[in-house]
Every structure is written in structure tokens, then in C-alpha cells.
Symmetry: C2
Subunit: 413 residues, 2 copies
Amino acid sequence: MARLVMKFGGTSVANIERIRNVARHVKREIDAGHEVAVVVSAMSGKTNELVGWCRDASVLHDAREYDTVVASGEQVTSGLLAITLQDMGIPARSWQGWQIPIETDGAHGAARITGIDGSKIIQHFNERGEVAVVSGFQGIHRPTGRISTLGRGGSDTSAVALAAAIQADRCDIYTDVDGVYTTDPRIVPQARRLDRVSFEEMLEMASLGAKVLQVRSVELAMIHNVKTFVRSSFDDPADPKPGTLICDEEDIVEQQIITGIAYSKDEAQITLRRVADKPGVAAAIFGPLADASINVDMIIQVVSDDTVTTDITFTVPTADYERAKTILEGVRDRIGYASLQGATDVVKISAIGVGMRSHAGVAARAFRALAEKGINIRAITTSEIKFSLLIDAAYTELAVRTLHSLYGLDKAA
Amino acid sequence: MARLVMKFGGTSVANIERIRNVARHVKREIDAGHEVAVVVSAMSGKTNELVGWCRDASVLHDAREYDTVVASGEQVTSGLLAITLQDMGIPARSWQGWQIPIETDGAHGAARITGIDGSKIIQHFNERGEVAVVSGFQGIHRPTGRISTLGRGGSDTSAVALAAAIQADRCDIYTDVDGVYTTDPRIVPQARRLDRVSFEEMLEMASLGAKVLQVRSVELAMIHNVKTFVRSSFDDPADPKPGTLICDEEDIVEQQIITGIAYSKDEAQITLRRVADKPGVAAAIFGPLADASINVDMIIQVVSDDTVTTDITFTVPTADYERAKTILEGVRDRIGYASLQGATDVVKISAIGVGMRSHAGVAARAFRALAEKGINIRAITTSEIKFSLLIDAAYTELAVRTLHSLYGLDKAA
């Protein structure tokens, strides 16, 4: 007997028929003798509808009221799944964030879980053999007693945090794909499903645009060492595929140098030409952006051809591009630059693999391979287990395929 | 300065535009210097959608899960109205049943309010000048911590109970009609809006088919002597009509003998012919019906033409008619009757007025007037302030108009 958390996203609970399918997945695990807590999202489309109403009511809506409205979506699904499970003869009850409680900080709309009391759920396992159907995405801010939400994709985080709180043996994240792939199968048909991927690699992949899991959920899984599977809710409930296990690096026997290739189109490039090369100039540029909560990612600084000034290139999220430009134009006198250039038709390609730690020259091979295809690299950043390249968006597919093949990730023909 | 509860039903909050209209009604009272708690229903249609999903999930759904699902409708509206009020510059916050708390018993789906702690709402009035936007229809069953609902129309009851708990000076129930009428204006164009009606009369009208207010809310208003107005949310928010005040009998100066004529088509008639006229026979008939939670309303017993047996006629709600017949056929041997006859094409017409207490012969005038129109009376029941007549449904409009005119209720031409 094991204790499991199973998480189902919005498309998996989009209507009563799909909720019944989810119940069949749960029944399989119950029949196998396991204790199960299920975490559910809102029916797909519902959250958008609720968010739309809040926006219609006021552009600048109170985040606490937004959370009250939006959290209702998960409340509905949890009740409906509990009813459906009972209909199949499986004892079940729904739990809202405030009933457990799942406590969060007061950052409404993007709250962080600060603690989960798993005792009531465990007690109901022991005394009633009940499936706990838990509303994902939501919690309670204890000091004010208000409903909070974790932000988009927050149900993944709810699931992993709950798994840690009830000491679950496993957390299964059911999605509309059957696991984590070496890259996006829509642009590389040779992409392979990974049997295992390390927490660190998954964290980089999630940060870099592979939208399988929310970043925060992977962080939590890593911190609490929660064995997490990504698998498909559209598999046959009676005979599902195992999916991809996210686990400790040590649990992966045959480690590749590169595990996956990710790409993100959500990048915009800004270059400031002929910036005075004097102390404090970086603070003058990046201070105002940080004050405006704009995340700066890649930063490159190269000496200009006049050898006394420098050119500074960096990237910001596309959504913040116009705002970033306006801010920098406002502090132009303080920074002292000759011109501001920008581009939104760029993409960040990343290669991730813990094997990079022990292998030199991994990135250099990529530079050569892309140069051979005539792809110009605008910026480069590296970390211990990944490197990222900024290139023209037109070359996205070509670059991803080139790297995927270069690092031996293509599946056997 | 006064303290008000304002209640808005589903059609009044059906979309963002109407919610904004509700906010304008609230703003008028705030601008007049009042403290306001608003009670809201779910957007019209939402509750039916949620109930439908529960039914689709399971015919025999757990009432606790049903409540969890269905209560989400009010949660959405309360958050949206709070956002809309804030957008107009009015401090406001939403309150769910469990946050106040509004405590109920454990009769999920049709729970009764057992207590409301008004202290937090009053504290927010005092310290923050905040409008309290309260989700109607819902509460919490404290011993289990589960969300409960009060049953259909429960938001009226929430409003009146809240008014009592916070010692409000007034409770305004906003609906899609502009007050309580002497009868249904759809069938009697001469129907007049009443300026005032007594609690007792309103209670009879609500019980007898005038669907303006839920019966339980009138009971609570009477017990706690809450001055309750029924008025229209579709009036101009800047210059609304006062509506109908439901108040103590003593506060009504010019009391009519009859205040209103109600009718209910939700009646079915059952007649048992030639029942043995012996002790215990009434128990043999009505005991099994009570055990099946079937409400028996009018009961008439007349000696049969053989003078040793009696005919017993009574009414049950139409929804329970077939079930009642089946039960009575099952206990035929025990009761001992010759035949069972039934009819569903009947209607109950009632005349209500506290003036009946001090005037004799009020009902007799009705019998004569209906006889003159050729309307046969199948059954009669009377109480201190009303009498009810069961007639063929085909005569509904004629009978209502006849009585409305007979008792001087028609408005001046």
C-alpha cells in the first residue's frame, strides 16, 4: 500500500464525462489498495471566464476579491469529482484550501504556500478510507481569513506541496501529454519521451519555456524530494503508461550530457549603444527596471568600437518590452547612451543537462553547428547545467532541430 | 444614519452591467450616510447549471458536496460586486458564509440558520466604513466545517437573518417586481401594489403561492421584527420607489378586511370513497404519507350517502401526487376504502387578511360570488386570517378576478 497524490488539470476535468474518466484513474489506484488525495483544477475555460468578469467589473480589481471569485472554479470541480467517486462506490469528500487548511502568504493572485496541515486528510484516510478531493490553486491567508490563489498553474504546486505535507510516496501530475519530452514534439517529430529527468533539469526546462509543470512545483518537489510523475489523463485508465519520473540525479543511471532542448518566444531584446563605461552605470540601467518589477534575463556587455564606451544588450519578457523602453528613455540622461535598439522577433534556445557539469566544450559544439547553418547568435548565457542562445525567431525550428540532433536526442528511426 | 441590509436576487446580478446597477443602488444609500450590508444571490441561471452538473455526476449525490458546488455561485457574485463597488470608490469586501460565520444545522441542501455572528461586519463598518457584501443562500455547519446551503430562495432568509444579527434598521429585498400586489398582476390587471402588509398576511401569501419572498424569511422577519421592504432593482437607482413594507399589524393604519388573493397550482386532490368511519382511520391514511415526507394540506371529511362510511378528500403537492397514490393503494386493506379518486387539474385560491379576525361572514360572501359564476368548490379550509378554496384549474383567472373585485381590491379605474 502506498499513499499517492494525483493531480488533474483543467482539460482533464472539462466536463462531467471527463471527470468520470478522472474518477476511473482514481479507482484504479484505490483498487490497488492505495490511499489517494486528488488535486483538481477548474474546468478548462472556467478560470478565464471568471478572470474576464473581474476585469469587466474593474480594470484595477482588488486581488483579494479576484481570488474569491476565481477560486470558485476549483470548488466546483472538487465537489463534482467527490460526487462522481461516491457514485462509483468510492468514499470521497471535497476539501477547500481553507478547510484543510492550505496556508499562504498575503500576495493575493500569486500567493506562496507557507504551510499545509495534512493531519485531517490523513485522519480521514485512517478512519474512513476516504479519497480526499482537494481544490488546487487556492489557499487561505490566515491573518485576514481571506481566500488566496497561487497564480496560473498553481494546482501543480498545490499537488506537490500536499504530497510533502501528507508524506505521500508519489505525486502523479496528469496532463494532456504523456510525459516530458527531449523537446517540443510539435516542431521536432524525433523528440523522445524521457523516462526520467532530474529535478534540476526539470527546473531549468520549466523556467525556459517547457510548459509541462509550473516552476514553483518543481522547486518544491526538489526541496522535499517528492517523487513526481508527469503522465497523461487521456491514457486508458485501466492500463496507463508510466510517464516521466522527476527524481534525484542519483536515481538516473544512464545520464546523457544534454537531456533536453527548450525554447522561449517570450523574450525581447534591448541594446543600449555607447554607454559610458563608468562605475554605477549598470545600477542606473537595471535599477529602474527592477523597481518596475521587470525581470531582466540575459545580459551581455561588449566594448564599443570606440573603445571608451560599451554596448549593453539584455532581454526582458515580451509583455514588458514597451514598458522597459519607456523607462529607459526616461532615464537616458542619467545613464548617458547614444541610442536604444530593440527587437521582439527573437527566441531563446536552451540546452539543459546535468552532464554538462562534467563535460567541457558542450556549448562550443552548438556555436559551431549553428554557424554552419548560417544562424547568428545575438547573446549567450550559461549556467552549470544549461546554456541559452538568443537568435532570430525565424530560425527557431531549424536551431532546435539542429541541437536536438547534435546532442544525440533524436529517437531511433 | 441608519444601518441597512439590501438583498439582490439572481436576475438583478445576472451580468456585470446589472451588478453595476446594483452598485448604484448601494451607492445611493452610502451617499445618504448609511451603513450597508448587501446580500447577493448567484447570477441567474448559474445555480441551475451547477445543480445540473451535480445531477449529471450522480442521481443520488451527496448533499454536502452538492452544497459545496452550488454555493460557489454566490461566492462569485459577492466578489464581483465588491470589485464593482470599489471601482466606484466605495470601500467594500466580500464575506462568505464560513467567514462571518453564518452557522446552520447539518440539513445540507435545506439547512436552517442557527446563528449569525454579526460582530466582524459591525467592526468593519466602524473601523473601515466598508460595505459588507455577503454571499446569500450559504452558511457553514460548524461541527463538520462543511459548506451548507439554505435551499431555493434562501438568500431572502440570509438577508433577514443578517439584518437581525447586525441590528439593522431595515432590510430591503430587491426583486424584479416593485412590491407586493393584491394579487398576481399578470392575471388581474386591476391588481394594486400594497404600501404595507403585515408579517402574518405576508406569511400566508408566501405559503400560498405568491413567490415574492421565501416563507422562512418572513417568519424570521416576524420573529425578530425586522422592517422589511420588497422593492424593485430595476427602478432608477437615483430615484427608486419605496416598494411594500412588511411590518407589524399595528403599524398599518387603514386595514382592509382582505389584503390579497393568492393562488397555487401546485396542488393535487385525492379522494378516498367509503372509508370505514372508525377510530384510527385518519392515522392509517395520513401516517404513511407523513412517513414519506408528503405534506398534506386541505383535509375534508364528509359522511357518505350510506351514512356509515365517510368520504375523505385532501390535497398534496403535485410533485408528490403519484407517490401518494401508490402509498395509499399499498395500505388499502388496512384503511378499507371502496375507491381512490384523484385530480391534478385543480387550483387553490386563497384570500388573506388580518381583518377577517374581526369580521364575520367574509368567506360566505366568496362562496356566493363563486356560485353565481358557476364555479364549484371542491374543498374549503380556513384559518384565523385566511380561507382557501379548491376549484377546477380552468376557473383560476375567473375566480381570482371575482374575489379581487368582491373584496374591493381593484384599483380605481
